[in-house]
């Protein structure tokens, strides 16, 4: 493989890992702070992609689709937390799995009613739709580069909020000792509601940014859900930094696995996960049991 091809594959790997990070960071926040296993996370990713397709088709603008899609997902997250999810806190995982599986069925049905079950594609914004010519017969789509940059900005924003703001301190404190934060006068039920809504919005945002380079189809959330769980477990449950490391590792493993070991590429990420868990049972940046 020459250097240019390697570079292109590396960019693909990073871009794939970045989108994975967007989705998985939402999952790890909800899992780590609310203690809720949300199997419907992938369904919101799919729903985000369909929303992007639908809004872009009506308005003709990918940007309106992106902003409106994220806003709709956020509001849906607030409502769902208030009606369903808050009943799951402290309950055992079987109850959580059952309810969130139910949500998958409902979201799938809602998608069927609203958007149908056709496969769609979404056009990227015009000024990002070109390609950069690398060599005579090799070019790289600008939109993929833009995804990298955009996801980096979102990641930086998430890290800033978590590490530098009072809200981030409260969220970290609550992940460690819920009771103590309440004793200090923090309304943790409100914090929970917004954390869940942000988690859902991140899943939808992942679906929206991927829509122009992937096809929008009904089952697209299923694979994403499994990959996101792999990322969360790999990075350490509840750790956003861990999700970033895990997502990039998966992106690299998957992309280069397909190049170098095409016959076994489909199992490589699971081999990676098993190996990491043997080395660090709580994930790369997971908190060790005391």
């Amino acid at each position: 493989m020459d250097l240019v091809t390697f570079g292109v594959q590396l960019l693909n790997a990073i871009q794939y890992g970045m989108v994975l990070f967007l989705v998985a960071s939402g999952l790890t926040l909800v899992f780590g702070i609310l203690g809720v296993i949300n199997l419907a996370h992938g369904a919101f990713y799919m729903f985000g992609a369909y929303l992007a397709y639908w809004i872009a088709a009506y308005t003709g603008s990918f940007w309106i689709a992106m902003v409106a899609g994220v806003a709709i997902a956020f509001v849906v997250g607030l409502v769902l937390e208030n009606v369903f999810i808050r009943r799951l806190y402290g309950r055992d995982h079987l109850v959580q799995v059952l309810l969130s599986f139910g949500l998958i069925l409902v979201i799938d049905e809602a998608r069927e009613i609203l958007f149908g079950k056709d496969v769609h594609s979404v056009a990227p914004p015009a000024w990002l739709s070109g390609s950069i010519q690398l060599t005579d017969n090799l070019s790289y789509p600008v939109y993929r580069l833009a995804i990298c940059g955009f996801c980096l900005i979102v990641a930086a924003l998430i890290f800033f909020v978590i590490t530098r703001t009072k809200i981030g301190m409260i969220v970290r404190a609550g992940a460690e000792n819920r009771e103590m934060t309440r004793v200090l006068g923090i309304k943790f039920d409100v914090v929970n509601r917004y954390v869940f809504a942000v988690g859902i919005a991140l899943a939808a945002l992942g679906g929206i940014v991927i829509a122009p380079i992937s096809t929008v189809f009904p089952g697209m959330g299923d694979g994403m859900l499994i990959l996101s769980f792999v990322v969360v477990v790999l990075g350490g449950i509840g750790s956003v930094a861990g999700a970033a490391v895990g997502a990039l590792l998966i992106g690299l493993t998957d992309t280069f696995g397909k190049v170098f070991f095409p016959s076994v590429s489909s199992i490589l990420i699971y081999v990676l996960m098993a190996a990491v868990l043997l080395w660090r049972p709580n994930g790369i940046l997971g908190r060790r049991e005391v």
Partner: protein
């Protein structure tokens, strides 16, 4: 003068076992109260009940003229009660300064008497350690931090469980000095500790708990004058 905190017929249960059997007590604004008794007599349960942390709790708890029995801990905290729990409850993954900042809130009447600057004046040690993680602190530093964190919520009443347990004598002295300062600020406190002699110096009143009931409620000096009562309920 009407009481800041008025508790009547308070009973608390953990499952089928009753821990508190009808507690009556009152704390005036700015009053310092020592709460003593042997282990397992209900001191911690009483503080946790006042904070809204005991699910099965009956009777009356009035704070600042409002019934708070059955209220959520966050609402009780916002009404003006702060708890310094046994074991301290420091957030180990947050720095000293973050532990303080996340709790900062004006008091119920909007006053902001306690700020980071004032806390650092009171505890220069915390200023030195402000960038350290909570889990890197010594026991004494942790206790300074939990008391400071409670102050950052600008409360009217602080409940302090086992104020100096496990601390070296010199560090304990620091804590007693601090509690004296807090008392001088007009904040009421209920302090649990085994060192009654030190408690007696900074409190106006002593309450002795035995098997979930109040068996003494009066001036610390009067309790000192009854060695057999002290012996029975403190084992000193």
């Amino acid at each position: 003068m009407s009481a800041l905190l008025a508790v009547a017929h308070l009973e608390a249960f953990y499952g089928a076992s009753q821990i508190l059997h009808g507690i009556d007590l009152a704390v005036a604004r700015g009053e310092q109260v020592a709460l003593i008794g042997r282990n397992g007599m209900g001191k911690t349960t009483l503080l946790r009940s006042l904070m809204g942390l005991v699910a099965d709790c009956r009777g009356e708890i009035d704070f600042a003229g409002r019934n708070v029995r059955g209220a959520a801990p966050e609402d009780i905290a916002r009404a003006g009660i702060a708890l310094v729990p046994e074991g301290r409850g420091i957030f180990g993954s947050l720095t000293v300064e973050e532990n303080l900042t996340m709790a900062a809130r004006p008091g119920r009447d909007g006053r902001q008497a306690w700020t980071l600057t004032r806390i650092y004046e009171l505890f220069p040690r915390l200023h030195q350690r402000r960038g350290n993680g909570g889990h890197q602190l010594s026991g004494g530093e942790q206790q300074m931090l939990t008391i400071s964190r409670a102050l950052m919520t600008n409360p009217d009443l602080i409940l302090i469980d086992e104020a100096t347990e496990g601390l070296a004598p010199l560090v304990a002295q620091d804590i007693w000095r601090t509690l004296g300062v807090i008392g001088g600020e007009g904040i009421a406190t209920i302090v649990v500790d085994k060192d009654f002699r030190s408690l007696a110096k900074i409190t106006h009143r002593a309450i002795v708990l035995s098997k979930g009931t109040v068996v003494f409620n009066g001036a610390p000096a009067d309790l000192m004058a009854q060695p057999e009562l002290l012996e029975r309920h403190l084992g000193v």
